[in-house]
């Protein structure tokens, strides 16, 4: 076990992958000479050279599509789309090619592609640079979507994505890069599709993923002060989604709040709520609640952005309100 940042954990996994498999290469905007927009790939160009760490032009749809083609051609590409905001330009290749080629070809083709991107708000980057659209990706059959929230998962889920024969999209919340945690550098791939109970409790289930996990922990700690023990479920993977783990927790706590940085309407939190409706309805003492982002393009000013994003205070208030209704 070694203490490291989320950024270092991703970099370590990339390095191990590049060392361990000659078919692996990294490409994306500024992954090489610049060292990565978030310094994740810093140093990899020097170690592996420009053939395997490739700076691309600003052509998102094409370099993602080229990753698909390279995967068809026997490589194991890791494409870095700098942020989810720019991935909108690549959605055609993702939805119409990466996700369809295997099924549409009657099983002849495989697309072992890994696409990494930073996601989320909280850095005062305003309306065009603060999206949390991983919920959209989770809607697409044919791809898998993972959302590591800890340094250990940043490593384990990226290695899992690389070991997967199908396209896997890894969403790294930009606010997590400096966060620290224990990582077992000898550990291999994590299991895609398994949620983790990060905190055990009996009063309420807090379901979340990615960049919202720290806020949920804060909320759980504050609730604990009032003797309210919340169980925290970190989804880790949005597609496939580990419904059994969610339902098992709800069966125990009889209450759930879903915390998701996406805009409320059509958020992934809605899917989780619907699954609890369908599989846990009779276990519920009251309606499942959602704490999501306000339905506004993200404002730049700090106080406005804070008001737009899910915060620990809102989670605490939601739980307290829910328990008040209990009596």
């Amino acid at each position: 076990m070694k203490k490291m940042t989320y950024r270092e954990a991703v970099r370590g996994a990339l390095r191990d992958a590049l060392r361990g498999d000659p078919r692996v290469f990294l490409m994306g905007e500024d992954v090489g000479r610049y060292g990565g927009a978030f310094a994740v790939s810093h140093g990899l160009l020097g170690e592996f050279g420009p053939e395997r760490v490739r700076d691309t032009p600003l052509s998102e749809n094409t370099f993602v599509g080229a990753g698909i083609g390279a995967a068809l051609g026997g490589m194991r590409p890791i494409v870095e789309v700098m942020t989810v905001n720019f991935s909108l330009l690549a959605l055609d290749q993702i939805v119409n090619n990466a996700a369809t080629l295997r099924h549409m070809s009657g099983g002849q083709l495989s697309v072992p592609l890994v696409v990494r991107m930073a996601t989320g708000g909280g850095r005062q980057l305003a309306a065009q640079h603060s999206h949390s659209l991983e919920g959209w990706y989770a809607h697409i059959p044919g791809i898998k979507v993972v959302t590591p929230a800890t340094p250990a998962d940043a490593r384990g889920l990226l290695l899992a994505a690389l070991a997967d024969p199908d396209p896997v999209f890894v969403f790294e919340h930009a606010t997590l890069y400096p966060s620290e945690g224990e990582v077992d550098e000898s550990a291999g791939p994590a299991a895609i599709g398994r949620a983790a109970v990060r905190r055990v409790g009996d009063a309420v289930t807090l379901v979340t993923y990615g960049g919202s996990l720290p806020k949920v922990f804060q909320a759980a700690d504050r609730l604990a002060v009032d003797g309210i023990e919340a169980e925290v479920v970190d989804l880790r993977s949005l597609r496939p989604l580990d419904t059994p783990t969610i339902l098992a927790s709800v069966a125990k706590t009889h209450r759930a709040v879903i915390v998701d940085e996406g805009w409320r309407t059509g958020s992934f939190a809605a899917e989780v709520s619907a699954r609890i409706m369908e599989g846990g309805f009779y276990d519920l003492d009251g309606p499942v609640a959602r704490v999501c982002s306000a339905e506004v393009p993200m404002p730049y000013a700090k106080h406005m952005e804070d008001a737009a994003l899910p915060q620990a205070a809102a989670i605490v208030a939601t739980v307290q309100e829910m328990l008040r209704r209990r009596g």
């Binding site: 083609g69 390279a70 068809l72 090619n97 099983g107």
Partner: protein
């Protein structure tokens, strides 16, 4: 005038073009009979492009095509029966009946589709070529697309990336003068497609897409250059679509006269005339050819008719790879 090629090769070219045309005429007929559904984009009139071009590629080379790919698929050697079965939606189709007319695939022949999003095949072709380069394989990836695709951002991005990284992609623009009902001059400010390559410092050329030998010569030359490591190449092939864009097209945007003018340069008729000149064929040969092609087409239909339907239980099969557990 003496023949520039030998008789066997000449007859092979003719036969492939005739096969494509008769196969598609049959497909059109089967569509009206409801045996084939969805969209059907016929290639009739453009046969010389696929047939001439495909001569230049080896089994190791890769082909990426569009939704109008029956000609490329047949010229690449995918059995006509597997293609007809695919259009029937049968499990013995080249894509198990999941793709239909727009999505032919045959990985054993490195035929990577069958792409129905205009421009969507170009980045994939660039990636296939990148994989070859990274694995030090001397292969060419041939990427067919229409004039309409030239307007898409992916055309620009893909040509730039391929040229920047000197990737072995042969971009083959099938310029049939229309993107659905929109004439070239109504979707391109610069209608000389070949000139677009200058923006990427990429070599380019143009050939008469109604002349199968001109196409073969141009594509062979370009393919050798690409195979030799000179980087990508853009080749424009000027051709014309005789039939409607798709079965849904009322063809309000062009006159019959225009179509007739192009039919005067029909690639099969032109080539047949030359074969006669060279004394390679006479009426009996042509009759025999038609008979054998007709037999192939009938056999293809039989394969499709006899094919099984994929069981509904397999609906979710191959959405993801079955990992043996």
């Amino acid at each position: 005038m003496t023949a520039p090629i030998d008789r066997d090769h000449a007859l092979a070219l003719l036969r492939q073009m005739v096969l494509i045309r008769r196969f598609e005429e049959k497909a059109g007929e089967l569509y009206t009979r409801g045996k084939i559904r969805g969209f059907l984009h016929l290639y009739i009139g453009e046969e010389a492009v696929a047939v001439g071009a495909m001569q230049a590629f080896t089994a190791d080379d890769a082909i990426v095509a569009t939704y109008r790919e029956h000609g490329q698929a047949l010229a690449r050697g995918i059995p006509a029966g597997a293609l007809m079965a695919e259009m029937y939606g049968k499990a013995n189709g080249c894509s198990r009946g999941r793709g239909g007319s727009m999505h032919f695939f045959d990985v054993s022949r490195r035929f990577y589709g069958g792409h129905a999003i205009v421009g969507g095949g170009l980045p994939v072709a660039v990636g296939l070529a990148l994989a070859d380069t990274l694995q030090a394989r001397r292969r060419v990836t041939a990427c067919f697309f229409g004039d309409g695709a030239v307007a898409e951002g992916e055309f620009h991005e893909s040509l730039n990336l391929a040229a920047l990284w000197r990737l072995p992609v042969l971009f083959l623009c099938e310029n049939n003068l229309y993107a659905m009902g929109t004439a070239l001059a109504r979707h391109q400010s610069q209608t000389d497609v070949r000139l677009k390559a200058q923006a990427y410092a990429m070599p380019a050329d143009v050939a008469d897409g109604m002349d199968v030998l001109a196409v073969e010569a141009a594509v062979r030359g370009a393919a050798e250059q690409v195979r030799g490591g000179a980087g990508p190449f853009l080749l424009e092939l000027r051709t014309y679509r005789y039939r409607a864009h798709s079965t849904a097209d009322p063809e309000l945007y062009r006159g019959k006269d225009e179509v007739e003018q192009w039919k005067a340069r029909d690639p099969i008729a032109l080539f047949t005339a030359r074969l006669r000149e060279w004394g390679f064929v006479a009426d009996p040969d042509l009759a025999a050819l038609e008979t054998s092609v007709a037999a192939d087409v009938d056999a293809a239909v039989a394969v499709a008719e006899a094919g099984p339907w994929e069981p509904v239980e397999d609906l979710t099969k191959d959405v993801y790879t079955q990992v043996a557990s």
